[in-house]
């Protein structure tokens, strides 16, 4: 947009505000559809930018104390720890230049973290305060890798029995399964034309909503879809999300939440939003995105409608159903908070 045009638009919309003063009272923007609507707060973080800078804000989790942990690839503080009001409580980490994936696993009452580092080509298990407990190098056992550079892990998911699933989302798009001690079990997915294959297997999570049939949901981001596998890697189904470059799936209660990096029709133009699917894998709400519509059971292409986000990369859902959205390559912005309305 030309500068002149921007000024004119600002003037027009605010001239409206002068005539109708109550617009200030309802100034808060509500995003989303149906029963999943949120008020967005872009000034949630109270971190001092000069002391606790961020680069890409890649992923967020909540620990059992209720704190919100953010992973960034700024090596001055790879992990920032907030309370739910955005007050910075703590920080640690200087050794993760490619900090990308952050997963929390509660093992017999203790919180542990799994960090995927793109640049180190490793997965690192740490205590909640950053003590390194285990490091997984590139998976030679698969027979598919000749050097560590081919392995660019983006995300992990941990099964109730402690098995570790790693998505090599910027490498070979495989999911590699290890036991809790880090011993290789199997791999699946990978690139190709079959339904079981993926393109940009960028994130994954355990789906324990159906207790009798636990499964794994993995994103195939460039295919604008999620793929479901059983815990032994058998392909089960594809959940098509036309238009949406879905990042990691996050399941809380009955719903699946995912940051959408960008709209497929408008690539590399800061066209991201957030999508929410119900138990039947149906999109019920797009935050800053189009109102979901289905024709003959097929979802119409979904896309950004409000420029509230640039490149959302992860959603964290806290114990009060608030969302926190971390963004990649978005002007070093801190996460936003969204409260349900």
């Amino acid at each position: 947009m030309k500068r002149g045009e921007f000024l004119r638009n600002t003037a027009l919309s605010l001239a409206g505000a002068l005539v109708v003063p109550q617009i200030l009272a309802k100034n808060d923007t509500i995003l989303g559809h149906n029963n999943k609507r949120y008020r967005i707060n872009i000034r949630w973080s109270q971190a001092d930018v000069s002391r606790y800078p961020v680069n890409d804000c890649h992923e967020m989790v909540q620990d059992q104390k209720g704190r919100i942990l953010l992973l960034t690839n700024d090596i001055r503080n790879n992990v920032l720890i907030y309370d739910k009001n955005g007050k910075l409580l703590d920080s640690w980490g200087t050794e993760y230049p490619g900090a990308h994936g952050l997963t929390l696993f509660n093992e017999n009452g203790t919180d542990f973290l799994f960090i995927c580092d793109n640049a180190r080509h490793q997965v690192i298990k740490t205590s909640i305060d950053g003590r390194v407990l285990m490091t997984l190098d590139y998976p030679k056992e698969t027979g598919l890798y000749t050097k560590s550079e081919e392995y660019i892990p983006t995300e992990t998911a941990i099964a109730p029995n402690g098995d570790i699933y790693v998505a090599d989302g910027y490498g070979k798009d495989l999911v590699i399964q290890y036991d809790a001690q880090g011993r290789y079990i199997r791999h699946f997915g990978g690139r190709g034309d079959a339904a079981k294959n993926m393109l940009n297997a960028h994130g994954l999570c355990l789906d324990l909503r159906d207790k009798a049939n636990p499964s794994l949901v993995v994103c195939s981001r460039q295919q604008n879809a999620f793929k479901r596998y059983d815990l032994e890697g058998k392909y089960l189904e594809t959940i098509a999300l036309p238009g949406a470059w879905v990042c990691r799936p996050v399941i809380k209660g009955e719903y699946l939440y995912a940051a959408v990096l960008q709209s497929n029709s408008r690539q590399w133009e800061q066209s991201g939003f957030v999508t929410i699917l119900d138990r039947q894998n149906k999109v019920v709400s797009n935050l800053a995105g189009s109102e979901p519509a289905y024709k003959n059971g097929h979802l119409d292409e979904i896309y950004q409608t409000i420029k509230a986000f640039q490149y959302p990369h992860d959603v964290c859902v806290d114990d009060e159903e608030n969302l926190y959205v971390a963004q990649w390559n978005s002007g070093r912005t801190y996460p936003y908070k969204l409260e349900p309305v």
């Binding site: 947009m1 045009e5 000024l7 004119r8 638009n9 600002t10 003037a11 027009l12 919309s13 605010l14 001239a15 409206g16 505000a17 002068l18 617009i23 200030l24 309802k26 100034n27 808060d28 923007t29 967005i40 707060n41 872009i42 000034r43 709209s263 029709s265 408008r266 690539q267 590399w268 133009e269 066209s271 800053a288 189009s290 109102e291 519509a293 119409d300 292409e301 896309y303 950004q304 409608t305 409000i306 420029k307 509230a308």
Partner: protein, 266 residues
């Protein structure tokens, strides 16, 4: 004066509401959907924007619609060569979107065949007919309508269905500077009555503003006008890319890519 008012009001609003005050977000531009920007009789365009409480305003041949322009309700039919459709979304509580636009082109003389040098393996287009299949005008460089080249010069040969008095040659290109795709610096047109030995120079178009920074990806047509039209059946196009990406760009000094999806001869 009015604009200054707007700005000071922004500051005022932030001051009085303090923490929790939110920016007014801008709407995203609407989505133009069409099969191709090239048509024989007419082109049909739908505009999508599934955001309750907003309106799409559009017009033809007057870039940058305002709220005085028509509200989109049904598919738009484009019938005239070079018609420019532009659209924008307005809604209460949001800043209006940027303008999106698309220009549509009528097909010209029938082209029997086109020969190109091998395109880059990642951007091979859609087979031999790519540049004369009537498909294109999609801004995404990943669309298989685009043939991508990264060479010092790209020379193309066209054979018309029959000899014609050629007045214009239109080359349809992508500009996506973030992806190192720039408009070429020059297009030269040569013609021959038959065979490919005795070429006559017909015309050229130089692009002096290809190094100027563009905000976003767009399709652009470069038209070479033929000052003294003669009847030709064979046409040779020499396309010189931007050989050195300008200093303001991360790819500075490298040769730029060119992406073509269609050639039209009038």
């Amino acid at each position: 004066m009015k604009w200054n008012c707007g700005i000071s009001f922004v500051l005022f609003a932030f001051t009085v509401t303090g923490l929790g005050a939110q920016d007014t977000f801008q709407l995203a531009p609407p989505y133009l959907r069409y099969e191709s920007v090239f048509f024989t009789k007419e082109a049909r365009v739908t505009i999508e924007f599934a955001q309750p409480g907003t309106r799409i305003h559009y017009n033809i041949n007057n870039l940058g619609p305002t709220e005085k322009d028509s509200i989109y309700t049904a598919p738009i039919i484009i019938k005239k060569n070079t018609d420019l459709l532009s659209a924008r979304v307005f809604g209460e509580g949001f800043l209006p979107s940027e303008t999106v636009w698309a220009r549509f082109y009528k097909q010209g003389f029938q082209i029997k065949s086109v020969t190109t040098p091998p395109p880059h393996e990642q951007y091979p287009g859609n087979g031999k007919q790519t540049l004369i299949d009537g498909k294109g005008g999609i801004n995404s460089y990943q669309s298989n309508n685009w043939m991508g080249f990264q060479t010092n010069e790209t020379t193309l040969f066209l054979t018309l269905q029959k000899a014609q008095k050629v007045t214009q040659v239109l080359v349809h290109l992508l500009q996506n500077q973030d992806a190192w795709i720039f408009l070429p610096s020059k297009i030269e047109v040569y013609g021959a009555k038959k065979g490919t030995k005795n070429w006559t120079f017909l015309g050229a178009q130089e692009m002096r503003n290809t190094t100027v920074k563009a905000q976003r990806a767009s399709c652009q047509a470069i038209i070479a006008n033929i000052a003294k039209p003669i009847k030709v059946k064979e046409i040779m196009l020499k396309i010189t890319p931007l050989l050195s990406i300008p200093d303001w760009h991360p790819g500075k000094g490298n040769p730029a890519w060119i992406f073509l999806d269609e050639i039209i001869v009038y």
